[in-house]
């Protein structure tokens, strides 16, 4: 249904240009970090010479879950149910073990409604690149708290968040994920490198990418809109006012081991701490300790936090035939007639 794009620009080893990895134009807000992540998925797949037809894209429901439409147009995709990407992807990946699965979820989709499935998918080590585009807020339903929102966050109509946030990376470690990483959507270089590592990992790869919401996790705007709405006595309508803001991009170098302060759209700051060059991501104890230290310092630690390349992936546990299951024919999957006589003889 898609037409092959004429080759323009440089081809990679798969004979494809970057255009072959593109998706539809994004319908997310201008300046949304999710768009930047989509661009890096395109770049990472291009650089890894991945054939788009050998990728499937999965998502749940939410702003983040819309984004599989914005990359790899030639891949199969499934924008499914809120919080249910994990189970759909788990079933789907048995059909053809040669396919790569890229799952895009959000903090609401993963850490609230989909927490159960998320954690079970990790303990099964399902081979999928699982990206959480994490902005601490529900965008599509117009700005409610998500489970990753920090204590004290003030959102219009919601008040101040009182509950402790869910730390996606800590959850991933506790659930035996074999690849755990965190990044910031504005750090394009790091996002791409982590994506490439994740795409090369055989097992579950969790990427928690802080992706600021330009529209709803945005205090100043909220007050502005609230005032605007009240003046016009149409308090329900202010939600359709979406200012066009620039995306937050980190410029210049951001070397390992350093700390960088980033100003968000609402003027608040977050502190990114890039992991030290000699940080050992193969030690789970290190990983826990590092995340605890980061939390105590109010840092958002970024980089590859943990990796284990030894555990078998889910699809390796079933002794499956080499032919993709979905290419087996009747003769392969319907036992012969003589076997049924034996089965009948086995009944009393």
């Amino acid at each position: 249904m898609t037409t092959p794009v004429a080759a323009v620009g440089q081809s990679n080893k798969a004979g494809l240009t970057k255009n072959d990895y593109r998706g539809l134009p994004s319908t997310l807000c201008q300046g949304c970090g999710h768009n930047s992540i989509a661009s890096q998925i395109i770049a990472a797949c291009y650089e890894l010479n991945i054939v788009p037809e050998e990728v499937i894209k999965m998502s749940g429901i939410g702003c983040s879950s819309k984004s599989p439409a914005y990359f790899l147009n030639r891949s199969f995709g499934f924008n499914s149910l809120h919080g249910r990407m994990s189970s759909l992807a788990t079933g789907a990946l048995f059909a053809d073990k040669n396919l790569k699965v890229i799952g895009i979820s959000g903090d609401g989709d993963t850490a609230s409604i989909g927490m159960g499935g998320f954690k079970h998918m990790m303990r099964r080590n399902a081979p999928i690149v699982y990206i959480v585009e994490n902005n601490g807020v529900y965008g599509l339903t117009k700005g409610q708290f998500s489970a990753t929102a920090e204590v004290g966050l003030n959102l219009k109509h919601q008040g101040i968040n009182q509950y402790m946030p869910v730390d996606i990376c800590l959850e991933a470690l506790a659930s035996s994920a074999t690849f755990v990483a965190r990044s910031f959507a504005g750090d394009a270089k790091q996002v791409k490198e982590l994506l490439k590592a994740a795409l090369s990992h055989h097992g579950i790869a969790i990427l928690d990418i802080i992706s600021p919401c330009v529209t709803f996790n945005n205090e100043e705007n909220a007050i502005h809109s609230y005032t605007w709405g009240k003046d016009h006595e149409e308090p329900l309508h202010e939600i359709s006012y979406v200012p066009k803001l620039a995306e937050i991009i980190l410029d210049g170098e951001f070397p390992e081991g350093t700390v960088r302060e980033v100003t968000m759209h609402d003027g608040a700051t977050i502190i990114l701490k890039k992991l030290e060059r000699d940080y050992d991501p193969t030690s789970k104890a290190n990983a826990y300790q590092m995340l605890e230290t980061a939390q105590a310092n109010n840092w958002m630690a970024t980089g590859l936090i943990y990796i284990d390349t030894q555990k078998p992936a889910l699809t390796d546990m079933y002794n499956l035939v080499d032919t993709p299951l979905n290419r087996l024919e009747e003769k392969d999957i319907r036992p012969g007639e003589a076997t049924l006589d034996k089965i009948n003889a086995m009944m009393f």
Partner: protein
């Protein structure tokens, strides 16, 4: 009380404590009777508990091949003080009451034969470890009963041999306990009741099996490639049977598997995984019961709307809520027919026998893939978990129908010009591709949101409506595909009966009784699927009154049928519905009809 012998026509109920191992003893009795050539059925009436609560097993012995549960119990074997009084009361006059004599309760009836059994002493004498004593005690009553009603000891040994898969020490120790019981009875009990069994030749060509095993085997012969499930009574044994038989039947020549069975974290994920697998081209299924179905509702709507084949077995139990998890019902019909929010109509198959569980086990995949829809198969606890006499399973009589799937070569022929949701053939069923298809035009974007023919996101009013109307058209196509009803007629009948599933035996028996005792002739349509086929509409048209017999409170099938038959026919329906957790009896069906007919 010496009456003429009553042979091969009575019921036995055995009251025990659950968790005591009585299931083995009871199934041994059932199987031995079956091997004697006598038509039998056995119903396990058990609590939702692991150990310590009363449980009953009831065996119907019927030379006339009536195998529905009966309200009347001619013989009761009582091993449980807690149910002693209740069970003593239900013995029919002239019947027999066997009880473990360590139960120190008064036997207040004088119109029955009473046989105390020194079970405890005999179990002690068996010299087994104390933790096996209760278990052996059950075998003692098997022996006593066998001696007293005439069960062939050799057939008992065959039943044990089957149960213990040929393991001699287990067979011997159980058989010895049974023999001890039989010998004691021969020396110490004088038979004063008239109930006897004698060998017949009426089970030739039958085997014994349960519906869940049959369903699993049917799915295996239907080529199931992916099954996800979550433990729930009474459906667990279906998935467990997949785990037993798939390794025996579905390895490739190099010893690798052509299937995956995965225990999910909940029913949401179980159906989610199955739909994911169905989307990517696998024959996928899940099996559950009512509470699981409730959780699966949103996913069912997703599969309906994105047009993904998946097979869902619902082995029904009593609801709503947790209800009575170990009791049987047909109460999920309405829920499943409309499962999901929004406009949906689902395909439902109703297997009415163990053999049909096998048949629908494979057929459901053909229908689901042909229609690109979820197919729900409604069994129930009675059919799924109890042992039934059944004809041997029949090999599929048609090649697999994989539906309209386009692979690389097909897309080449089309020059890549196709649309996922376009009705090319006028049957409402579009073409699909599955992930792994490497053709550059193969991919499409599945979404539960509004979409156009090319799967693009759409909120366009006309696009939404025309797509939903096309999906509705598929339901019309399904009418030509689903199993037709089975109809049994009597000359001159003006009354029709519609039933489905496990109640067939009770309805058939009730029809014979109505005819013999009251001269009331009835025709019977056993519905095997929704949507309804032409045969059902004709059947209703041909009869003055139509009873819809079902094991639920509200007459759910009758409600659905009332929405699909012409308005002038609706008044013909009479609801005969009843739900108390027990399999319907012929007596109840007969009385329900007689009450309405005022005969």
């Amino acid at each position: 009380m010496s009456n003429p012998r009553i042979v091969n026509d009575f019921s036995i109920t055995i009251g025990t404590v659950n968790g005591s191992g009585s299931q083995t003893a009871n199934v041994t009795l059932l199987r031995a009777l079956f091997k004697m050539g006598i038509p039998v059925s056995g119903k396990n009436l058990f609590p939702s508990n692991i150990q310590g609560l009363p449980t009953w097993y009831t065996i119907r012995i019927s030379k006339d091949r009536f195998i529905a549960r009966r309200d009347v119990q001619e013989i009761v074997v009582e091993m449980n003080a807690a149910s002693f009084q209740r069970d003593l009361e239900v013995v029919s006059p002239g019947g027999a009451f066997y009880y473990a004599d360590d139960i120190k309760l008064p036997v207040t009836r004088t119109d029955i034969s009473v046989y105390p059994m020194p079970i405890k002493q005999m179990a002690k004498a068996a010299q087994v470890s104390p933790n096996l004593r209760d278990y052996i005690a059950n075998m003692v009553y098997v022996g006593i009963l066998a001696q007293m009603i005439g069960i062939d000891m050799e057939k008992i040994r065959q039943a044990l041999d089957f149960h213990f898969k040929g393991k001699v020490p287990a067979i011997d120790s159980n058989f010895n306990a049974i023999k001890t019981g039989a010998e004691w009875a021969a020396q110490n009990l004088k038979k004063t009741d008239p109930y006897w069994v004698e060998p017949m030749n009426a089970t030739e060509g039958y085997v014994m099996a349960d519906g869940n095993t049959a369903a699993a085997l049917g799915a295996i012969y239907g080529g199931v490639q992916f099954a996800a499930w979550y433990p729930i009574t009474p459906a667990s044994s279906l998935a467990e049977a997949l785990n037993v038989y798939l390794p025996q039947l579905r390895k490739s020549s190099d010893g690798k598997n052509t299937y995956t069975v995965l225990q999910a974290e909940d029913e949401l994920s179980a159906i989610g995984m199955a739909i994911g697998a169905g989307w990517s081209g696998l024959r996928a299924m899940t099996s559950t019961s009512g509470p699981g179905i409730s959780l699966m509702s949103e996913f069912a709507g997703l599969a309906y709307h994105t047009e993904i084949p998946v097979v869902v077995w619902d082995v029904q139990r009593v609801g709503p809520s947790t209800g009575m998890p170990t009791r049987t019902a047909q109460g999920d019909v309405t829920e499943i027919y409309f499962l999901s929010h929004g406009d949906t109509q689902n395909i439902i198959l109703f297997p009415g026998s163990v053999q049909e569980c096998f048949e629908f086990g494979w057929k459901a995949f053909d229908i689901a893939e042909h229609m690109q829809m979820p197919v729900f198969v409604l069994s129930d606890l009675d059919l799924g978990m109890n042992q039934w006499m059944t004809k041997p399973f029949e090999y599929p009589d048609a090649p697999m129908d994989r539906g309209k799937v386009l692979w690389e070569k097909d897309l080449d022929k089309l020059n890549g010009a196709w649309a996922r949701y376009r009705d090319v053939d006028g049957d409402g069923i579009p073409y699909r591709t599955v992930p792994g298809n490497r053709h550059h035009s193969a991919s499409w974007f599945a979404r539960g949101t509004g979409h156009d023919e090319f799967t693009r996101y759409s909120e366009d009013a006309g696009t939404w409506e025309s797509n939903m109307l096309r999906i509705k058209k598929k339901y019309e196509t399904a009418r030509r595909l689903v199993p037709k009803p089975v109809i049994a007629k009597m000359d001159g009948a003006s009354i029709g009966i519609i039933a489905f599933g496990s109640t067939e035996a009770a309805v058939e028996e009730a029809r014979q009784i109505l005819n013999l005792e009251k001269g009331l002739k009835t025709d019977f349509l056993r519905l095997r699927a929704l949507p309804c086929t032409e045969e059902l509409f004709s059947f209703i048209k041909e009869h003055e009154r139509v009873y819809v017999v079902e094991a639920n409170r509200d007459g759910q099938l009758r409600q659905i049928l009332s929405t699909v038959v012409p308005p002038e026919q609706v008044g013909k329906f009479r609801s005969a519905c009843h739900s108390d957790g027990l399999p319907l009896t012929a007596g109840w069906v007969k009385n329900a009809i007689l009450a309405e007919e005022k005969i």
